[in-house]
Point group: C2
Chain length 352, copies 2
Amino acid sequence: MTNHRIALIPGDGIGTEVLPPAQQVLDAVGRRHGFTFSCTSYDDWSCERYLREGAMMPADGLDQLRDKDAVLLGAVGRPDVPDHVSLWGLLIPIRRGFRQYVNLRPVRVFEGIDSPVRGATAAEVDFVVVRENVEGEYSEIGGRLHRGFPEEAAVQESVFTRAGVTRVLDYAFGLAASRGGRLTSATKSNGIVHTLPFWDELVAERGAAHPGVAWDQEHIDALAAKFVLEPARFDVVVGSNLFGDILSDLAAAVAGSIGIAPAANLNPEREFPSMFEPVHGSAPDIAGRGVANPLGAIWSAALMLDHLGHPGAAKDVTDAIAAVLAKTDVRTPDLGGTATTAEFTEALLELL
Amino acid sequence: MTNHRIALIPGDGIGTEVLPPAQQVLDAVGRRHGFTFSCTSYDDWSCERYLREGAMMPADGLDQLRDKDAVLLGAVGRPDVPDHVSLWGLLIPIRRGFRQYVNLRPVRVFEGIDSPVRGATAAEVDFVVVRENVEGEYSEIGGRLHRGFPEEAAVQESVFTRAGVTRVLDYAFGLAASRGGRLTSATKSNGIVHTLPFWDELVAERGAAHPGVAWDQEHIDALAAKFVLEPARFDVVVGSNLFGDILSDLAAAVAGSIGIAPAANLNPEREFPSMFEPVHGSAPDIAGRGVANPLGAIWSAALMLDHLGHPGAAKDVTDAIAAVLAKTDVRTPDLGGTATTAEFTEALLELL
Ligand SMILES: CC(C)[C@H](C(=O)O)[C@@H](O)C(=O)O
Ligand SMILES: CC(C)[C@H](C(=O)O)[C@@H](O)C(=O)O
C-alpha cells in the first residue's frame, strides 16, 4: 500500500485548528482509495518560536522537510511579529528553497455560497490562476539611500529570468491544454517597460510551442476589471508573482470563496516537496475558539492528493466540499452558520 | 469675465469624437456661471502623426502647452502602433514633464447604471482613488541582459522617493480631511520588502501630521478583494503608480462605470497645466461611427472645472450626468441604448 510522508506545519492562530480536520479527511479518503499517510508535525515552527528563539524555524528546517512527499501548512503570522519576519522566515524560504515556482489557485463558485458578483454561478465560474512564485517583483534586491533625510529614496529591483518565466508559462500552457485550451496572460508592458515586455515575448514564444492553446493577454488593470465584469470568461490565467497574487485574491473574492480558497506551491519536477496551504491567514481574532472554517485546509489537501497522483481521491474531497455547501446548512460563523470546526468537518466527512 | 486657456488633444480613435461634446458642455456651464474658454486644439498629436513623422508630438510639444490653464485629452493608441510608443511618446511625458504627480479617479455608482456587484448602490459607493503618477513601478530604469540566450534576464528598478511619496500622500490626506476623514493606503510590504515598507513609514508619518484623518492600510491583494466585497467601506484610497492604476480600474468596474470613468492628472501646485482624460481608450472597434459614449470626457471636463476653481459648475456637470442616466433612457450602445454621441450629449445638455 502506498504511503505518503507528509510534513504538517500548523503555524499560528487558526492554522493549528484547520490542519487536524484536513488530516481526518486525508485519512478517510486514503482508507477508501487504498493509501496511507505518515505525518510528521512541526508544531513549533511559528511566531511563538520566533519570539522565544529568534527564528521561525530551525536553521536546518528545509533539510528536515526535504525527504517528505509534501508539506501541508496551516497559516503564518501574528500581530506582534512583523510580516517580513514571519513570512520571510518560513513561508517564502520554503517556496524558494524548494523551487516551488508555480503557485496554483483554483477559483470556483460553490452552490450554497453566494458570489458578490451578479450572475457568477457555480456552473460558469471555474478557472485557475497560475502565479509565478519565486522571482519577479518579490525580490530581495534593493535598499534605501539617504535614510531619514529629505533626499531619501528606496529602490527595488524586479528580476525576470528566461528560465524562471519559461518554466511557469510551460506549466500554465500545459494546464490550459489539459483543460479548456484557453490561457490569458496578465501584463502591464505599456507602463512597466523593461520586465513586462520580456514576459510578453516569452508568452508569445511559449504560445507558439503550444499550438493547441488559444491565448491572449490583458493589462493587469483591465484584467482586474474583467474578473468582476466577466468572470466566466476565464480558464487559465497566468501572471507574475505580484500580478498572480493580486488576481488570485481578487478571483476568490469574486467567487465568494475568499475564506475557503486553497493554494498549491508546486515544484512540478518533484525534485523537492511541494507545499499546500489555505489562503486565509492566522485570523487571530477568532483563533482558539474552535470555530475556524476548515474548508480552505481541506481543499488544499485535495490539491495535495492530486499532486501525489490521486486525482480520484482529490475529486472525492472537492465533491464533498461542494456537497456540504449545497446540501446542508451546517456552516461555521464566517459563512453565516453556528457550527464549530469539528461539527462542520463531521458533516463533510459524512458526505465523503 | 474669467477666460481659461485650454489645450485640447483629441488623440486617436474615439478620442476625437468625445472631446467636442465635452467642449459643448464646458461652453454651456461657462455661459451660466460667467466664464469662458479659449481652446487650442492639437489635432495632429496622434498615432497618425507618429506613423507619418516618427513622433507623437513635436519636439517642443510641452512648451506649446506650458502657458495653458489645463489640458483635455481624448484617447491615445492605435492597434498598429505599440503602446510604449503612443503612451511614452505623449501621455507619460506630459504627466512627468508637468509634474502631474496626482492621478485622481473618482468612483461613483450612478442610478441607471447597474453595478455588477450585488448591493453596490449609488447612495453607498462614492470614493476616490489617489494614485502616485510620476515615479514608483513605472520607471525607465532597467534593461535586459544576455538577450536571446538561455541565461537572458530583464530587470526593472522601482524607485520611491521621500519627496515623491510625501507630496502625493499629503494630497490624499488633505482630500480625506475635506471629505469623510478616512484614508486607506495600498501596500504589499510583506512581499515587496524595500520600496513598500518605505511607503508604509511615510504613510504613518503623514498620518501623524494629519490627526483629523483616520487611516489604515491593506495589502493590495486583500484590498482588491475588499473592493468587491465591501466597496461602500472606502472614502479615499491612496496607492503607488501601479497599485493606483489597478485599483482605479477595478473600482470603476465594481461601480459599473468603466466606460465613463474620468481621470485628473494634477499638478496641485499649479506650476504647470494639469491634464484631464477619460479612462476609456481609443476604442478602434467603434471609432468613426459617431456612437462613442461622451460621458467619460464630460466627467473629466467636470474635474477640470473643479481644478480651475469652479466647483459649482463642476457639480452642475456631474449632476447632469447623474440625471441623464437616472431620468432618461437615452444611452449610447455601450450602455445598451441606440443613441448617437450627439443625441446623448443633447439629452445631457437639456438637463444642465
Ligand atoms: C495606458 C497606461 C500606460 C495608463 C497607465 O497605466 O498609466 C492607463 O492605464 C491609465 O490608467 O492612465
Ligand atoms: C503573505 C504573503 C507574502 C503571500 C504572498 O503575497 O505571497 C500571500 O499573500 C499569498 O498569496 O500567499
